[in-house]
């Protein structure tokens, strides 16, 4: 009788580093490897093979027959642009519909204008857009501050969730880090006082 090749799963951190397997010829599964919920015969799994026949698969065949030979097909109505819409140079004209989420503005808008001069295979196109996104972030931060709606980093990043949804072990870790940080600051202040007196 062979030993069970799939021992009860353990948490990865419970396993010693020596248990890491990859090299050598030992075929035993890693301690975290489990098949405890898989029936011995895969045909016993509920629904097994329901779509085994490709005819049951919605993407068979991948492309459906069509008589349409032009890129846009037949378009009857076109959305009217009321703001600047950037368009890929790989499109012959504006698409019949488009999003109007965030019109380009400021320096980031100029960078986007520049980026959209290049095709989608060009790094200048994409990397300029990434740069424009970062510039947009700074521009928005400044303009919102001037309008009295400055960014609330703590709420927007929702750091409090890290505590609210943490388990006991995570909370202990956070508490230890916080205590060490506070302790470090207090120690630094005390040392500073000592040195200043001298």
């Amino acid at each position: 009788m062979t030993a069970n090749p799939y021992p009860e799963e353990r948490k990865w951190y419970e396993s010693p580093k020596s248990a890491k397997r990859a090299l050598g010829d030992d075929p035993a599964p890693a301690p975290s490897h489990s098949n405890r919920n898989v029936p011995p015969n895969y045909r016993d799994i509920r629904g097994w093979g329901a779509d085994l026949d490709p005819a049951n698969r919605p993407m068979f065949p991948k492309e459906l027959p069509s008589d349409v030979t032009t890129a846009r097909g037949e378009v009857r109505d076109w959305q009217t642009p009321t703001m600047k819409i950037h368009m890929s140079v790989e499109h012959p004209n504006l698409t019949p519909v488009f999003g109007t989420s965030c019109p380009p503005k400021g320096l980031s808008g100029l960078l986007r204008d520049y980026a959209y001069q290049f095709g989608e295979g060009s790094n200048r196109h994409w990397m300029t857009l990434v740069l424009a996104d970062r510039v947009d972030m700074i521009e928005s931060m400044v303009s919102d501050a001037f309008r009295g709606r400055g960014d609330n980093y703590i709420a927007e990043k929702a750091w409090s969730a890290n505590w609210k949804y943490a388990d006991d072990a995570q909370r202990r870790r956070y508490a230890t880090i916080a205590a060490a940080a506070v302790g470090g600051i207090v120690a630094a202040m005390l040392l500073r006082k000592v040195f200043i007196r001298r």
Partner: protein, 384 residues
């Protein structure tokens, strides 16, 4: 209306925005009753998608009630409860007419490489998404569907993207009876891909991730063999070993550009933004699939470029299948599977947040707190 807005990497907040309007005769305005945060929203949240402008509203998984219709929309009525597939698609262009609704050519002026997607940056058309009280739905005469009898709201919500995308991944793996499928990522897409792989006739489904709680879930939901890759010295060698040194018949990258597992990839893709995200899952998929096998890329990557072993792809004779899921093509079959209890999409929902607390929802999801697998957002006017 109230809407989630992007403020920069790792920062979102809820703001007042103008209500959406009908801008085209085929438009509809939907009052959102439920929205979900998708794993690919995390790529946006981390600022990894180019042309992601400050003030953009995310959300491509949502259902709602029709509030207003353009004059050309004759298949819906005001008050209909609809699910809205994440692809913005016209149904008539070269690609839609061939059933490739994820590749519509008429909905994204900003790029030809990808069709329009709700709330997924200006690279995907600049449409505001459904993590808001109201949303504009273009081509409502084609895209949205009335939620059919026997499909709950929660199931319908997950049929807008996560469930069809996982099912699509398993289809693209081209599974033959008894084959071994190796799935990278135990998030919602990996979960549905694992479940669907059995429906396609797989003989063995192995899932790897670094999160024990997700592996635990998928081992029951799939079911599936699971292994935590942080436990392995060399995951690729390990996957070869457990497949008799042949390799899996198909490998599915259900992670995308926010993967863990390689310091080099993380540095290049995540911290320096020198590539379109961290491509370690794709790297492992190519290396652990057998010669002549199939690699499926369903995880989202940014557009520029990624470090991946193209040489092995060629030398091993691997077939790569990848595409955004054309949701509308999957829905009829998935309705049957949901009604017959073969797939239960709503079972992966672990958290619900009011729209006002969406920043907390993103934090919990992205930091994998509290056993989070799928968070759902409920807007203030959901019950109006």
């Amino acid at each position: 209306m109230k809407a989630m807005t992007y403020r920069g990497p790792f920062r979102v907040r809820v703001e007042e925005k103008p209500d959406p309007e009908i801008l085209h005769p085929n438009d509809a305005i939907i009052r959102v009753t439920r929205a979900a945060i998708c794993g690919s929203d995390i790529h946006l949240y981390h600022g990894l998608m180019p042309d992601l402008r400050i003030g953009h509203t995310f959300g491509h998984e949502f259902i709602g009630v029709v509030e207003e219709l353009g004059p050309n929309v004759d298949n819906l009525k005001i008050g209909d409860k609809v699910l809205v597939p994440f692809n913005v698609c016209c149904g008539t262009c070269y690609f839609c007419s061939r059933g490739l609704y994820g590749n519509c050519h008429n909905t994204n002026p900003n790029a030809t490489a990808i069709g329009g997607i709700y709330g997924y940056s200006h690279t995907c058309g600049g449409y505001d998404g459904g993590q808001a009280e109201y949303v504009r739905v273009p081509f409502a005469n084609f895209g949205p569907e009335k939620i059919p009898e026997g499909i709950s709201d929660d199931d319908a919500l997950l049929l807008t993207d996560a469930c069809p995308t996982g099912y699509h991944a398993a289809q693209m793996a081209d599974i033959k009876e008894g084959q071994t499928v190796l799935i990278f990522g135990a998030g919602p897409i990996g979960i549905f891909a694992a479940r669907s792989a059995w429906l396609m006739g797989a003989g063995r489904v192995i899932v790897t991730d670094h999160l024990d709680y997700r592996l635990d879930f998928i081992s029951r939901y799939g079911p599936a063999e699971t292994v935590n890759f942080t436990h392995l010295k060399d995951p690729i060698v390990y996957f070869k070993k457990i497949t008799d040194y042949i390799g899996a018949d198909a490998a599915i990258d259900a992670v995308g550009c926010d993967a863990s597992g390689s310091m080099l990839q993380a540095l290049m893709g995540f911290h320096l933004k020198a590539q379109a995200g961290n491509a370690v899952a794709l790297h492992w998929a190519i290396n652990s699939v057998r010669k002549g096998g199939t690699v499926v890329i369903i995880g989202a990557y940014g557009p520029p470029m990624n470090l991946a072993p193209i040489g092995s792809l060629m030398n091993k004779g691997i077939t790569v299948h990848a595409n955004q899921c054309p949701v509308k093509r999957q829905l009829p079959r998935l309705y049957e599977h949901v009604r017959n209890g073969l797939i239960k999409p709503s079972e992966i929902i672990t958290h619900r947040f009011p729209l006002e607390d969406i920043a907390e929802g993103y934090r919990v999801f992205t930091s994998k707190l509290d056993g989070c697998i799928k968070p759902v957002i409920i807007p203030h006017r959901a019950a109006a």
